[in-house]
Every structure is written in structure tokens, then in C-alpha cells.
Symmetry: C2
Subunit: 304 residues, 2 copies
């Protein structure tokens, strides 16, 4: 048995670390059976998304494991926030190399600790998962609920509506650009490191997002994600450069083309107190910044 850890022992220790974060009043059956069983409320639709974070592609493998775990769950949950859904449960499929000095059972426990913190903050239950052997990656399937027919799509924006973001942009990109992305410890982060490792799924903005015409979370850069909204809604956009809120350390370039901020971009005909207005939707296709056409580019996994 080598270091004494087998698959079932590791699952048991993850389950212990998750503790109360593995369960919730709506979880009928949690970790330990073939599948989890979750009580869903009538009058609500289920909202579901999956993301995979690959070591040294989506996070530095040598970063503190708590931060990797926290971020993996939070960035996945961000997709639910963008749909105006309430989070309910998550499943985590962890692919691990052979356990050793770098990725040890203790590393996995710290990863689970980070997930537990994110789960507690968002009131989501990590009620199931899977362990497999391979190159380090984390797939997270997240599930929420939204009042029937009220999910917020990308496709319902209309010319003339104002565009809002829920917070400052670009700090996570600045963190990577300035190579600040390897903090020594999890609990002493700079503001830029915090932007990268502790993004917040904006469930706190749910009432504004519910009132919006369309919404998307900004994971791949403001312009690229805005472009998804424009393509789905069949319109264009005009942005004002000086209205785009820059996070600490961020340049306008970071805010426009960087990713990893996980603020929500949404459109609304009304003024929205909690949103920061950055421009408006227009009937003219394309995106203009201060009246000039601007190219969309951002993170693409498969552009070659």
C-alpha cells in the first residue's frame, strides 16, 4: 500500500475535509453511493455547466493547493451567476498523477479545503465526484436553480440598452502579466493575486442580473465575451474607454483582452445602481471604443 493511501481512503479524507460543505438540506444522498440525489424545488428550472481546469494551462501546478481548489469551484460557479441562477450543488472529478512529493494526499486535502471555503461562501454542496489517475486536472460540474423561464441568456440584448459590468476588470490578467501568480502562501495575497485566485461568482448581483436583458460572465476577456453577447443578440456595441473600471495593477489592455476576472457583463434598458455602465448596445455590428472599431481577441484554447 506504499504511503497507505488508496482510492477509497483518499475519497474518505476528501469527504472529511469538505465536512458540512459536502451536504445541504436539499442533498438527499451525498458522497459515497453511485450518484448523488438532490431535491429540486418545483417551479424552478435546473441550470448546469461544466468546466475543466488543467494544471499549467489554467492554473500553475505549484501554486498553493487551497487557492487552486477555491478558484476551480468559484470560476465554475460563475457560469451559474451569469444565468441569474442560485447555486445548489457541484460534482468534482479530480485527475491526479501518482501521489508523491509534489501532489501528495496532503495536497489533495488542501485542495479540498479551498473548495470547502468557496462552497461555504456560495452555499453550494460538493456532493459527489470522481478520482482518476492521469495528468493533474480538475473538472467541476455545477448546478443551480432559477425560477422557471427566468434564466438569463446571452441572446436577448437590444440596441439602445446600456452595458454594465459588476466590478473592476483586468487585475487577474495583470497578475499573470507581471508574473505575480505564484504566491508562497495562500493567506497573504496581493490585490492582484487575490483577483486571480479568489474571484467571486457574483451571486450577490442576482437581482440586477435578473432584471437585465442578457448576461455573460467575463472569463475570456471583456471584448471576447461581449462579442459572444453581440453575436447571440444580433447587435453591436459602443464602449467608452474611460468608463471601463480598471482593477488594481490593470491597464486598459488587461481589462479589454485579459480574462479571469469573472465579473458579469449585462445589458439593461434601465439604470442599474450596482452596475458600472461602460457603454451601450447599438444596431451597428462590431465593437467601437470611443467611436473607433476595435478587434476582438482573447483567450482561445484551440486557436492555432
Amino acid at each position: 500500500m506504499g504511503n497507505g493511501v488508496n482510492e477509497f481512503g483518499l475519497i474518505e479524507s476528501i469527504s472529511q475535509v469538505l465536512g458540512a460543505s459536502a451536504t445541504a438540506p436539499w442533498i438527499q444522498v451525498g458522497i459515497g453511493d453511485d450518484a448523488a440525489v438532490i431535491q429540486m424545488r418545483s417551479g424552478f428550472d435546473a441550470v448546469a455547466s461544466i468546466d475543466t481546469l488543467v494544471a499549467d494551462v489554467h492554473f500553475p501546478q505549484s501554486a498553493p493547493a487551497e487557492l487552486i481548489g477555491y478558484r476551480a469551484l468559484m470560476v465554475s460557479l460563475s457560469d451559474l451567476a451569469a444565468m441569474a441562477a442560485l447555486p445548489r450543488y457541484a460534482l468534482v472529478a479530480l485527475t491526479l498523477p501518482e501521489l508523491g512529493d509534489e501532489i501528495s494526499a496532503q495536497w489533495v486535502q488542501r485542495l479540498a479545503q479551498g473548495m470547502a471555503v468557496a462552497a461555504k461562501e456560495t452555499n453550494v454542496a460538493v456532493c459527489g465526484g470522481n478520482l482518476s489517475r492521469g495528468a493533474l486536472s480538475i473538472s467541476v460540474s455545477v448546478h443551480g436553480e432559477v425560477e422557471q423561464g427566468q434564466a438569463k441568456l446571452r441572446s436577448s440584448g437590444k440596441p439602445g440598452e446600456r452595458l454594465f459590468v459588476t466590478g473592476a476588470l483586468g487585475s487577474a490578467a495583470a497578475c499573470l502579466r507581471q508574473q505575480q501568480h505564484l504566491p508562497a502562501v495562500a493567506d497573504a495575497l496581493s490585490d492582484m493575486q487575490r483577483a486571480y485566485y479568489r474571484p467571486q461568482a457574483r451571486f450577490d448581483c442576482r437581482s440586477d442580473i435578473k432584471a437585465a436583458s442578457c448576461a455573460i460572465d467575463i472569463s475570456d476577456g471583456l471584448l471576447q465575451d461581449l462579442n459572444h453577447v453581440l453575436q447571440a443578440s444580433g447587435c453591436g456595441a459602443d464602449l467608452q474607454a474611460d468608463a471601463i473600471p480598471l482593477g488594481i495593477g490593470a491597464t486598459l489592455e488587461d481589462a479589454l483582452h485579459g480574462g479571469d476576472d469573472y465579473q458579469i457583463l449585462f445589458a439593461s434598458a434601465e439604470h442599474v445602481a450596482a452596475g458600472l455602465c461602460i457603454g451601450e448596445l447599438s444596431s451597428a455590428p462590431g465593437i467601437r471604443l470611443d467611436g473607433k472599431d476595435i478587434e476582438t481577441r482573447g483567450y482561445q484554447h484551440f486557436s492555432t
Copy 2:
């Protein structure tokens, strides 16, 4: 743009290949937004599970892609069948290396074709997913429904109940043992290859499984999965060797310790027409085969 395939182009082509398999009457929003939206029936609980299949750990990377796709979805769905749930939707997170000769855009399309066939056979909608760059692996999150409080657990077996399996065991293990696991083409499989690559999630046995006291799907070998039931139910089992149904090519060893069959093991106080009785639960701990104690061993990802 190299070979002309970017992330969004690849998603679009997967979506086209999936076609009708990406949607269903209960899918309100499918592929293409931040998350999928699914209408759930009142009076039902949600049932959810996630699995990851890693290339050259859980399937041979050089096998026909259609078979890899079919099997990945079907083995994941098997967990829902074991809970007596009806399948509703699946999310697929695909991690792909840089596209090239071996893993090409066409390979991905054939993978999706195989998933589409499995989806059609089981009436499940592949309504969302994710693409990322890394070592080839497939994470599948599967979701079903079961009448409230009726999910079938591992933990409710009682001494004296008879143990059943839904079909012959060991052929998939025999396929691997005899190194028959690299068929040249997807549509001319031997019986053993069919057992390995075209397992059936046993939704057709749902009425028997609903009537059972406990159930589990046999993914890691009969004895190991039986042991999970025994530990959860707090009892032991007596098996009869000549009652264990052997699949084509399979030895008793394959049936007891091999995995990958995806038949359902369940217990019931009543005789069950569709099940094959292999023994019974007992109050004496441990497993006995023809009265002799037998060691549990099977597939463990992390035993060292």
C-alpha cells in the same frame, strides 16, 4: 489559424454532429450559453454523477473514436441506472492535446458521433460541455430523475435477501486480458470487444431495480462492488460459483475480479424474473464463494 479549427469552430462542429442528441423536450437552453437550462419534473429528485476517462488508463487512445465516445457516455450513465433513475441530460468536458494527425478535428467529430448514438439509445440530451487543452481525457457529468425518495442506494440490503445480476460478467475483462481491445474499425466488433466498447446502461431493468432493496453497477469487478454494498448495508454474502453467469470468453476470475461490465448487482427478498440469482446476503461478514472465504480485490486507481 493553422488547420482552420478554433475552439468555437470545434464546438460548433460537435454541436452539429450531436444534432438531435443535444436537445430534448426538457432542454430549455442547450449548447452555446454560459450554462444549460433543464426543466425538471415536480415529484422527482435529481440524480447526478461524474466520471473521468483518461486516455490509456480507461481506454486505449488509438481505439476508434466512435467507440471511445459511446463507451464514455454509457459507463457514466450506468451510475444513474444503478440508482433506478431515468436519464435526462449529460455535460461533457473534453480535454484535448494540440490537434494533429492522431487527435484531429475529425477524430473529435467521430467521438461526438459515438456519444450521439449512446445518447439516442438512452434518451439523454448532451446539452452542454467544455473544451480545454491538455492530455486527452473525457469527463462526463450525467443527470437523471427518480420519483422522490425512490433512489436505490447501496445501504439497504438485508441478510436473507437474494443477490442478482442483470447479465453475464467478465467479457470486458477477457477482452483486455486477451489483448483484443484494439479493433480496427468501430462496426465489426467481436462479442468480447462489444462487451468492452458497447456496455449498456441497464435502464431496461429499471422496474426490477426499483423493486430491489439495494443496487450498484459493476464497474470495478463483482467482488469489489459487492463489497461496497456489504459495507454500506452492514452484512456479508454467500455466492455460488456455478450460478455466476460468465460472458463469452470470460473465466470465473474475469467475472469475479474484472471490471467494465456495467451490469447491475442488486438484492431482493423476492424472486426477480429478469435477474440472475448468484447467491444471497447473510449476517456473517465477508464474502464466501461456495462456502469458502474469498478475498475482495478489483480495480483501484490509487492503490500503490
